[in-house]
Subunit: 136 residues, 6 copies
């Protein structure tokens, strides 16, 4: 059983706002992240899959397939996008790093075959990241 | 004569668009950066000043003053902002990394005293950066 | 259940010495780290908390509160300090990276509320780090 | 119980090829990695050991001994080598990152004493890495 | 006048050997880099161009064109190659980092149009790099 | 003419204090860096030499000699030391990053032979560094 991790980057903008809060509550909780024009990040995504090593290839997963799935399911949808306006999961959910990691898990898990999704890590900045393992 | 560099980060969103171009021209030149909703980056700013070392302090510049100037002139204006809509220089100028570096130079150069501004470097991503030395 | 990690840095000095060892034993075991004048590092601290995502905020933890706790309990006490002389835990215990990670856990665990402390990671250099999960 | 990780680097070359495949199958699966002249990487190795902290030293493991074992068992054998031709494990096994991590585990596990091997991580590039925990 | 730098990576193998030296001289000068099987690196390439900013685009250079030139002239030739055997410049010249930087300059300089090549930087490892500015 | 840069790290402690200032002046100018117990950093040193490429070796400088000079003249003197107390240059001069860079230049310049010293860069933290080119 080995764990393989592949990184990718995407550049997106977002803002934090709960429509059920008053403007004062939104500003108090979200601070400058509440600016409705949005601001952005170079998000770094790490996708970890686990499985046994195929003795004929030496691979736990075909890297080209993993790259294709990550591009199609995540990067094509989120790269160079305003998450709140253009990504379905975030039309009615706040695009925090926590929720982005969960959304990426839900996009990837059903599409991976030979290897099993183990962890999704999302860095919002080099100093802040979230891990999701699919745990309820 | 020594050169001292201080780094800082800001998170902002932007998009590329020239109103004198047709939509087709904008898309051809700017690609996915033309999305009017904006997308974002963790910009890294490096400010380099040069001067002689003050023998009583061992400093070429007081780091607290340099930090204050960078915060007041650049970060307060650009961090967590949509550059095209909220930063005056980019209301009528495309906020490319090149133009951001020049704008930051023009904001900082008149405010620095003991030490002289030598270079402004702006990273849009870890793999792309621009240097401006104030050269016409 | 998600895991959120926030990084911070502090600059401190320390040295390694066991008063029950002879000078020869101390030098043999600790080498140049035994220099009583101390030497220093830019320590990088990663604090990981875990919890469920609050649906009204999208957060597992309020980042401002996490930052405040880390600053008050750890950075104010250890940053720009000689650990052996100025931090209570290390007056009678060797400030190895192992012991620093345990001390930081013990400082943070009782102060975190909504989310639970999961891991403390301390880098002494980019090439050496210790993880502590509160396991006996 | 703490976990200590030490990093090291080695520069090696390799290529991917299964002699039971046809040339077309090898090219289809391995792409440009199938070039028999080899290509290379700066591999980064992270070795994690776990154990309790010795109260007389503050260490979970003597770092000099850990460094010596890593140098003797791994770096002396793999650094500046063509893995397929010069490292016994890869004379008849494809030197993928997965197999390299497993081989390093098998070299290190029997040689570590006070502390127990917990994880071997191998980065082939900054964007691709494999973890092995000794799990069957 | 601004300077724009774009990074790229390539993985290659090489070895150091001067056929006019004796085997002893080669080993004395080149050490383990003299192994004829080759060893490898993840080379990082930084290409810096300079020019004035086009006011209609905000660009000093069209990034897609720069990327295309770097891919076609350098990466297609050197990535996943054994430099001594497969890259013409190094059939009769030692592929040191110095000579790789010069060869890349000579490949790129005639192909860049709007902007002028300013510097080629090549990292062999994170701790060793060479800059070439086209100076005789 | 090529420029080759080699990095190295050293861990040292220091504090900032001018004996001609009052305690209040020292605290006002140096803040927490004035703590006389000292604090520390993982300093990163980059040494750049320039010269023409020797056609028989492909080198601008013999890397083993460069490493030896850096170890003997700088690292042996400064690594794991309290700079104010144990390094002659700083017994009567404040060990700021500026002064450390100048001291390292003065130690290295007379010892380098084939290649000429071009720049000394010292990082105190990843976000603060000083360059010295030997300019009066």
């Amino acid at each position: 059983m080995v764990y393989l991790t592949r990184k990718a980057e995407f550049a997106a903008s977002h803002y934090y706002h709960n429509p059920e809060f008053t403007p004062e509550q939104n500003r108090a909780l979200f601070g400058k992240c509440n600016n409705p024009n949005g601001h952005g990040h170079n998000y770094t995504l790490e996708v970890t899959v686990k499985g046994s090593v195929d003795p004929t290839s030496g691979f736990v997963v075909d890297l080209k397939q993993l790259k294709d799935v990550m591009n199609r399911e995540v990067l094509d949808a989120m790269d160079h996008r305003f998450l709140n306006k253009e990504v379905p999961e975030f039309l009615h959910q706040i695009p925090t790093t926590e929720n982005i990691a969960i959304a990426i898990w839900q996009r990837l898990a059903p599409k991976l075959k030979a290897a099993q999704l183990h962890r999704v890590r999302v860095y919002e900045t080099p100093d802040l990241f979230v891990d999701f393992y699919g745990e309820a």
